[in-house]
Amino acid sequence: MNELAIIVEDDEDLATIFTEALQSAGYQVETLRDGLIAQKRVSQVEPHVVILDMHLPIVSGADLLKQIKADERLKKTIVVCATADARMGEAITDTADFVLIKPITFSQLRDLTARLHRL
């Protein structure tokens, strides 16, 4: 059975591309549009990987990141943060498992998550 990946991204096109990339990497993908929905969802399931946009409506990516990392139940979950802001990226390198600076290409994300999937 394929493992679960959750993508939290408000931009529809990027969400589609990320979804395709993770599906290509062999994940079963759920795509969520805002931080609040994502907050509820991660309290119900145990995703293998979360692709987290830092600029999200309602609940920010940074808050969500803190919440996931603080949750003992989700300690195996790998969080990949995506941001266009290099300074923001630097600020979360200690907390996040991976930080990708936008623009993120399809193949970049596919190749990274494919490796994570094999772990």
Binding site: D13, S24, A86, P103, F106, R110
Partner: protein
């Protein structure tokens, strides 16, 4: 004092001719003496009338009474004539009367024997003083004629009197000489006075002209100060506000009496300000630099640009502080809008580009079904062009951030070898597509780690190599990382391209400029690459050098400190 002034005004006769005035005054003095003496004598004879026997009075004092009465009346009449009539007439009459009087002081017999001959010198001397000096001779003539008449009539002996005639002539000469010299001296004195007056008048005129010039000058400065749109506030050396122009009171929305006389700290209290803005303002006004320094402060709802400078006199001593305030609200708003615009450009332009890039890649990777070779190439072209557009957007954003001074460096240790490897990774394919060879060299003397912002260093190299490849049709591009000295290292990019004309060299680092405007179309790009290189290098405390030879190629090198400080700026 009052009395002498009154007497003086009585004796003075106003006249346009100063000599005439002097003479009339002299006559007045003499007449006054005569009148007073006559009056006293009259009083004396009247007193005698009451104290002595009538017959005795008539025998001894009546002559005196009548003579002094005559003198009194004549003196008053002459005084009036002298004051209101012609002066020469009064003087002549006086002399005439006097001559008659002295003629009959003695009996002619006594006179002829010489008892009172000396009295005849009096009209001569007085004539020289009361009339033009030459009249001394006329008076002498009159005296001689009188004596002559008396002598001829009384004695018939002319010879005895000849010495007397000579004496009178001689006295006339002396009187004329002395009176003349007095007249000349007075004339000279008047001339001197006149010249002096004239000089004083000229000086006064000059002074008043200078004063009015000064007034105009200061009025002009005041007018300038009052009409300029910038607010000007001047503090004296003790920190008291002494000048505030209307623009300032308008700008600061306060009354000028709130400003004039205020101390620096008192001035900062005029409007409620937060400690940060107050600190800036206080510092700006208490420590003005000799050069202009410019800061922005928040003043109520307004943003003000404040410039302060020392007011220095000719000796270089500080005599005050001048602060110029300008309304920066509009500019600040524009700046904020520009930043918002940039953020929008950054986000809204890149997001769809990233989507285009992603979909093209997915098409190419056959996510949406099998693709043929032509379709793959088309997807490739979409990707390449999207990436180029992304680069341009990034360049524009970098340029704008650097202009706003907002670009920050992320300094950390990195391996120079990694830098070279990264650049090869990004550019090998692009160079190969153009048929160029990208070679590299790493100085073995370099330390394994250098401090710096590897991403920005890579950006510099990529920009330089991109630029080189644009202008190189065939040949190679060589990049090298070298140790310059103990404290510095350098990056160098050499090409075999068309080169840069010498007169264009200073301009190539300006933003939005290419050597030839047609080059924009031919070679692409905004001409931002080199501008960004230079600004990045300067941000890293580095220097950019360029050497070029037309038709041979160009070499760009950047020298940087090895131990880049952790956070410059």
């Amino acid at each position: 004092m009052k009395i002498t002034q009154r007497i003086n005004s009585w004796l003075e006769v106003p006249s346009s001719d100063p000599d005439d005035a002097r003479r009339r005054r002299l006559l007045n003095i003499i007449l006054a003496g005569v009148i007073i003496l006559s009056a006293l004598m009259q009083a004396f004879t009247i007193w005698l009338w009451f104290t002595t026997a009538r017959a005795k009075w008539i025998a001894g004092a009546s002559n005196i009474f009548w003579v002094t009465l005559g003198l009194l009346v004549a003196g008053i009449a002459l005084f009036i004539l002298n004051r209101f009539g012609p002066g020469w007439l009064a003087s002549s009459l006086f002399l005439f009367v006097m001559t008659i009087a002295i003629t009959f002081v003695d009996k002619p017999e006594q006179l002829v024997t010489g008892r009172s001959l000396f009295l005849f010198t009096l009209p001569i001397v007085l004539a020289s003083m009361l009339l033009p000096s030459w009249t001394a001779f006329a008076a002498a003539g009159m005296s001689i004629a009188t004596l002559d008449f008396l002598v001829i009539r009384m004695a018939g002996d002319q010879i005895a009197l000849i010495p007397t005639f000579f004496t009178l002539g001689f006295i006339a000469l002396l009187a004329w000489l002395s009176s003349r010299s007095v007249e000349v001296a007075l004339r000279d004195l008047r001339k001197l006075n006149h010249e002096l007056d004239q000089r004083v008048a000229e000086r006064t005129l000059e002074l008043s002209a200078a004063l009015s010039r000064e007034r105009i000058e200061s009025g002009r400065i005041k007018a300038i100060l009052e009409s300029i749109a910038d607010g000007v506030l001047v503090f004296d050396v003790s920190g008291i506000a002494i000048i505030a122009n209307p623009s300032l009171t308008h700008l600061l929305e306060v009354q000028d009496d709130q400003l004039i006389g205020a101390t620096i700290s008192g001035f900062s209290d005029v409007k409620t300000m937060d400690t940060y803005n107050r600190g800036i303002l206080n510092n700006l006004l208490t420590n003005p630099s000799r050069q202009l320094s410019n800061y922005r402060i928040q003043w109520g709802k307004k943003t003000l640009s404040v410039t302060s400078a020392q007011v220095v006199d000719r000796d270089g001593d500080q005599i005050g502080t001048v602060a110029v305030f300008r309304d920066y609200t509009h500019e600040a708003e524009l700046e904020r809008m520009k930043n918002t615009f940039l953020a929008i450009v950054s986000h809204e332009l890149r997001t769809p580009l990233n989507a285009i890039l992603g979909y093209a890649e997915m098409l190419k990777e056959a996510i949406y079904g099998p693709v043929n070779e032509k379709q793959t190439r088309a997807a490739d072209r979409i990707m390449t062009n999207s990436l180029r557009l992304l680069d341009i957007v990034s360049d524009l954003l970098d340029q704008a951030q650097m202009e706003a001074g907002k670009l920050s460096l992320h300094i950390g240790p990195f391996r120079p070898a990694d830098l070279i490897e990264n650049v090869h990774g990004v550019l090998d394919k692009i160079a190969a597509d153009k048929g160029l060879q990208l070679t590299s060299e790493l100085d073995p003397e370099l330390p394994e780690y250098i401090n710096g912002d590897i991403a920005r260093l890579q950006q510099i190299l990529v920009n330089l190599i991109n630029n080189a490849s644009k202008f190189t049709e065939k040949g190679s591009i060589h990049m090298s990382i070298l140790l310059t000295d103990k404290q510095h290292w350098s990056m160098k990019v050499e090409d075999t391209g068309i080169g840069i004309p010498e007169d264009e060299l200073p301009k190539i680092f300006e933003a939005f400029r290419q050597v030839d405007s047609t080059a924009t179309r031919k070679y692409g790009g905004f001409g931002l690459g080199l501008a960004i290189v230079k600004q990045l290098a300067e941000l890293m405390e580095g220097n950019v050098f360029v050497k070029s030879q037309l038709g041979v190629g160009s070499t760009f090198s950047i020298t940087l400190p090895i131990n880049q400080a952790r956070s410059p700026k």
